[in-house]
Symmetry: C2
Subunit: 558 residues, 2 copies
Amino acid sequence: MAAQATGAFATRSKALEKIQGRSIVCGKTAPACPKVDQFSAEDPCTGKAIAVEYHAARDADIDAAASGAWSAFASFGRTTGEERAVLLERIAKNITDLGPALLEIAGRETGLSVTRLRAERERTTSTMLLFAHVVRQGDWVRATIDRGAPARRPAPKPDLRSMLRPLGPVAVFGASNFPLAISTGGGDTASALAAGCPVVVKGHPLHPGTGELVARAISDAVVQCSMDPGVFSFLHSGGRRERAIGAQLVRHQSIRAVGFTGSVGGGMALDRMASERDDPIPVFAGMGSTNPVFVCPSSMDRNAERIAERVAGSMTNAVGQMCTCPGLVFVCESDASDRFAKSLMNHLGDRMPETMLGKRISDTYAKRLNETSAVERVRLLGGSVPSAGWKSALRKSEGAPALFMSDLKTFIHNPKLQVETFGPSAIVVTCRGEQELMDGAGAILGSLTASIWGDEYDGRLVRRLSEALERRVGRVVFNGAPTGIEVCTSMVHGGPYPVSNQPHTTAVGPRSLERWRRMVCFQNAPKDLLPPELQDENPLMIRRVVDGRSTDGTLDAA
Amino acid sequence: MAAQATGAFATRSKALEKIQGRSIVCGKTAPACPKVDQFSAEDPCTGKAIAVEYHAARDADIDAAASGAWSAFASFGRTTGEERAVLLERIAKNITDLGPALLEIAGRETGLSVTRLRAERERTTSTMLLFAHVVRQGDWVRATIDRGAPARRPAPKPDLRSMLRPLGPVAVFGASNFPLAISTGGGDTASALAAGCPVVVKGHPLHPGTGELVARAISDAVVQCSMDPGVFSFLHSGGRRERAIGAQLVRHQSIRAVGFTGSVGGGMALDRMASERDDPIPVFAGMGSTNPVFVCPSSMDRNAERIAERVAGSMTNAVGQMCTCPGLVFVCESDASDRFAKSLMNHLGDRMPETMLGKRISDTYAKRLNETSAVERVRLLGGSVPSAGWKSALRKSEGAPALFMSDLKTFIHNPKLQVETFGPSAIVVTCRGEQELMDGAGAILGSLTASIWGDEYDGRLVRRLSEALERRVGRVVFNGAPTGIEVCTSMVHGGPYPVSNQPHTTAVGPRSLERWRRMVCFQNAPKDLLPPELQDENPLMIRRVVDGRSTDGTLDAA
């Protein structure tokens, strides 16, 4: 499928000609870097380099981007929600206007299908438009007012007003698996800009061309909106300087927060780096997730085949390269669970190896499959595990589904079974009865989602599972697949470690804006110094908590 | 003053007889510990041990407390806001009912005056009552509903409902300086209980008797409310096992979050410990704060003496042992600033050494004064710095005010001047003109508060200062003193590092409850599994965001 989508391109398409291979620093194209620091992207379908040379950001580019972001923050941090809404809408339009060229390049760099990329572009722009709506409306800043009482005894009561205020420039590290929705113009960038924070993106080496095109769209929008060009910069990053660029950015004194999506190792390394600064800054890292599925006995009895079909579809969605693909299925051992496993195998058995996002992704997938199958009492039910010589054998970036089976005891005693395998594989964990199913719910690591298949005949078990699982995940899904994230206010895309280093936050939806702001209180502030959100007249007509009560009105005279 | 308050007690007062010296584990008095692990508290007014032997919690006590808290969470995590409100009200009553005995013991252990302790008790109980009101009312859980649209194409829209859900058992490490309001029954305990999280308190070694009395009041309330006694435990901690007890608690698998108030070293040690667990948990650490004051030129011209009086009062409040006492004063060099410094000196010069909270507090204070005065171009303006032999010379826990003066350049180049000195001292930092004042605002570390003295003739400078300072503090105070924390919804008691390791949170006010909860989303949940806050009928009549709009109504039929 992926090969079909990208195979039609000529070696150097018109789309590629739009790419300069240079970073964009405060609206300007960065100069060339030394030859030795240049890098190229690979077409994962062919394993061959794509004919563009990318210039890794130089130290001076990084410094200029971060310093420029800090300067821009002076004005951008004070823009109105309306002004930022217009910016976001402009960005969405510019990204859409990139047309087929963006999909072509993204497809070529990631092996993802045009259908999938079109849907992802839609999610990217609709997120921009949703955030535009949210900041234009204005309620999200959590404005709170407690009026003073100067005559109170023994001490006068001060006038106190607080709201979320922006942190400053944000460094964004995008993900490999969503070149549009979780990358240069993805959720972190959109939410940070919506929150009034300038953004410096560290480009992802697996899709630099996609990143550059989107970056140009954003940078152009900043200029079109007559804003300080320092509001957005994009740093090409790859080759031998990749890590150094990330490190310099996170350590730069002008950077006030970091957004990251990727591996646990990568996220925690940035977290440590940020906390070792003289002035530690927050890192919001979205990391690995196993998305376990729990099937209750009655539901299994009645729906084994349907559940197998849904699980198979979800685990192989985008070649298993979504953060919410299920990687663990806990079942109670029974005839029905045997039917389930067979059905799951049948669904997966149909599938040929497919192109993964890049060689480093498929290599890690192969390594994890080998680790899993090496565990005693883990059985390969279906699909295949690349043999010992897989590293040389696999020229291309491919992965095929693999289904393992094991038992709860083995799962609990083997940490390697408990962590994410990024790719289209899952382990069916058989439990002896409901108590073991509950023990499984207690043994999983933090996860973005957990899914429960249960019906009215499963009785209290469904409730018990839900109560146990809500302690460990961001989203509990009932009788459905975890993939497919709705971008809306109540979405929670986060969870306890290792899913996130900041379990109190969500990376998707309007509440993701709160990561880039912090509550600040103004005590007895002169009226003309108060932000509009906190003024007596409530000029933005937003909802506020005044003296402990929710209201969208003005302040009455005391 | 402190000596007067406590000097009247007999060696072993009736109040002391209420104390058993034992930990309270799930409602039960813990057994004795080995002699070598017993410890006693000291009367800082006399430097002599108070005649009670405290039994440090044994490993088994810690395990029983944490495990009991986890068991209790099964029911306590599901209590209604109403049920928890009744518990909080009962605790407030029980603490009040401890009567003069509590004030006596707290005074004897801390050297704080009865007047101060009475006010602190009032803040403690009124916080309990405020949180009772907040959880009874119910809006605080941020309930959010996005209704599904099964017929939507290409994919059906799921029904998504999210709200803040409790994390589980919380370990609380209280502060030395607020034996009531930031300790056993203080803000962390009150907010965690309000949020539905059982609490295990690690007792503070400087006021174990106070802790035990309050712990008994809380533990009794839990029983009176017919709740699982594991909802609250108190572990005596001091002597050679002090650190081990804290470490075991933070590492215990049943503990899901930690609240701490104290030094930067202590807070960051716990933070590291918690992040090195197999399943890292969040630590909310309130740490050191300098609370800088910025005086604009015109305001100084017109009000030098009044400002000096307010600053002197605030910096010596409770012998400078409040987290919000100002330790830095930035002024523009002028005749008026000279008058200010002289006036400040006069106010401080009146004051004799006063009893501090304990020997380790006064020793650290003396050490910091020595460090400050050792910096080149720092001048002692008034008060005194203990001489080289201070450690042996100071038998009692005393500290006298000290006022230093330096210049901005010296401040910027000497990190030791930039961190908190816990005690009644401050550094006046002279700036040459407004730009240097702004540079000072840019050079301070994260702080709970910053205060600006400015009037209409200071023009844009006040706004510029406010904009710079809001980046670095939790609360910007205008023309007033930073001490005196109003406990209300808009209060922010927090800020960037080193004030807190979690700059997005507040430790005071209703929003402090959010630390102990995390947003969880339920997708297509069966109606009978939804918490009341998320049910269609809105049985609690709380305010919710439904399909993006704030409403306190029910859900209409779709």
